[in-house]
Subunit: 380 residues, 2 copies
């Protein structure tokens, strides 16, 4: 089965269950519910409610689930629970017993796990070679939509890693594949892009027509008496990805398409911040998505992490239970949540943005294991 058609099946399946990120989260009641709408509801009132809601399931259902999972996956060390009822975080000690024996597919986040900015993290090539040598499948999942899969292959190559486009899941690809799953091309309609070249390149590969994107970089609508922004009446979807040239023209174009043409609003992700450079946290795609949500009052369909699309796709493609998939990332609220919310195992690497102190000071998102870096996956 080709990658495209398997993806079609899995997203069609997701569509039948009226998939959106927010819907999905609500159906996974084993995990603290408020994490799902962290972006949309941040009033102190809601937070206070959420905190109350969180404390309870953690010490009952959630820790029970952890214990059960440890048993079924053959872990040597069951999750321990401190006297105050909170889970104790487990460092990966025996990779073969604890992780490798029970995992078929690894989904690696890139920045903070494979590389840091433009530098490869020590031990990564050897670890990937080892995992492949023992028959594990490795994929690389990134919410960064500014590059296409082809763009990412170049980045991997520049760091000395040989990765094929089929092993890469960027949110630009996810957006294109989602549209393919809905037979968007057959409608004869176009996509309006807020975003960069990555989304354009992925839509081109599928032959889906598009407008907007980098071409609208310097545009400004006429806003004098009687003026209006005319939009192409054939726009059937608006894809919103990270766009460092976001402007009012693009916001109004998307606004008219979504409000008047009833175009679908698709977000590559809703990450609040991104790491354009290592020197600072930069406003992420939550900025662009928040803007379009703010004017249209429509919730987007989110295709990147932590939506289940990629995990559904892989489980479907390889016919394996999700419990044999392991998400590996450096962020609790995207990577680890992505795995835990969607029924996979999850490992937090301390090689990126999350410190050990941060991990231990929270009990909202609990990985199955943490480690210093993926170099710890190789048996000692």
């Amino acid at each position: 089965m080709s990658q495209g058609s398997a993806f079609v099946q899995s997203v069609q399946c997701a569509l039948r269950s009226k998939f959106t990120v927010l819907h999905t989260s609500a159906t996974h009641s084993a995990y603290p519910r408020h994490l799902s709408d962290a972006n949309s509801c941040r009033t102190s009132q809601n937070k206070s409610f959420a905190l109350k809601a969180r404390r309870r399931p953690l010490s009952i259902a959630y820790v029970n689930a952890q214990l059960t999972m440890s048993t079924t996956t053959g872990s040597a060390q069951p999750t321990t629970v401190a006297e105050n009822g909170t889970a104790v975080f487990r460092k990966l000690q025996d990779p073969e017993q604890e992780l490798l024996n029970s995992t078929s597919v690894f989904l690696f986040d890139c920045d903070g796990v494979i590389w840091l900015g433009d530098k490869l993290i020590a031990g990564v090539p050897e670890t990937l070679d080892y995992l492949r040598s023992i028959g594990k499948r490795c994929f690389f999942v990134t919410n960064n939509s500014t590059k296409s899969r082809a763009g990412y292959v170049k980045k991997f190559t520049s760091l000395g890693l040989k990765i094929s486009p089929e092993e890469i899941f960027s949110s630009s690809f996810a957006a294109a594949a989602y549209l393919e799953s809905k037979n968007f091309k057959a409608t004869g309609k176009k996509v309006y892009i807020i975003g960069e070249v990555g989304i354009e390149e992925e839509l081109d590969l599928l032959g889906i027509p598009h407008i907007g994107g980098p071409a609208d970089k310097d545009k400004q609508p006429r806003m004098g008496p009687g003026d209006k922004l005319e939009v192409d009446p054939m726009v059937g979807a608006v894809v919103v990805g990270f766009d460092r040239y976001f402007n009012y023209y693009k916001a109004q174009y998307a606004n008219v398409c979504i409000r008047e043409l009833k175009a679908e609003f698709i977000a590559t992700n809703t990450d609040a911040v991104t790491h354009l450079t290592d020197a600072q946290e930069w406003a992420g795609n939550g900025t662009m998505v928040g803007a379009i949500r703010g004017c249209t009052q429509v919730e987007p369909t989110v295709v990147g992490k932590p939506s289940p699309l990629m995990i559904d796709y892989l489980a479907n493609k390889f016919h394996i239970p999700k419990s044999e998939i392991c998400v590996v990332g450096d962020r609790l609220d995207t990577d680890v949540l992505f795995g835990k919310r969607n029924g996979t195992r999850a490992v937090l690497c301390l090689s990126g943005v999350t410190t050990k102190e941060r991990l231990f000071s929270q009990d909202e998102v609990i990985p199955d294991f943490y480690c210093e870096s993926i170099a710890d996956f190789r048996p000692r």
Copy 2:
């Protein structure tokens, strides 16, 4: 008492009750709760819950409140309730008995009530003259932050209406007055502005230093390896108003100020759409506020409609009960809600964007009366 100091009192009072729009809405349980968070929670799940919540109080507490209000204000026609339990909308028939005798202060929305785009609505000058001749105080409240009060005086003058700056409440003024109420100037800090000249002019009048605004129109941060956007460490507040030159530089500047400097995030309003021109609905300040909320994950303090600031200010300044204030507007979800949520009377004018069909097809926001235009306020 000067306008500034009275405002200070009223907003300090609001601050003592830990004012935010979302808090406020939650304390007014007589009105449909979900309207308050229309911008922040739009999942179909929440909507479904909200709809259920709405139906119940409407036919019990809410309609009872309507009946009580009709009695206490000496209305000739009590609110009638249809057989299905929904309120029947009341057209203003006898302005003196139904409205004028019991109202001391009128708060008029501008666009759709006083003018439509650049044209005065018929009968407005005569109505304002009449209301003043019988001792009513008239104020003009607009969420449009692109002009200062001085800018609005020019617009009124160009239409032949003589209005003083003290009679105008623009959200640009509200933002400046809110900062004054917090003694912001005494901190020695600055305001970063996303917005246009109206906010700058109002801050200048109060001597509050500011940066950003129109000056950052064409800026783009350097985003190469190791680059970061340096911000002025003295920024203590970010004011976000409508900005047709919004760009990524401004978003990242605000993001760093709010995240790293812990600057307060103040929104002039969160209106989804605005009427820049009559030909189309344009993406409103909900766009800019949504963007900053999306990257910072912080909820703003909202100073424009439907927040209670202006109503608290007037009730305090004139020492009158809020029941003697009447909000007059052409929008249900901003103007009428603004009044009903904050304890005043509210009249919907059909001279703007809301049609009679729309009014009658909903039972979410119920004005005390509706009329064709404010010309109906003069006795026949």
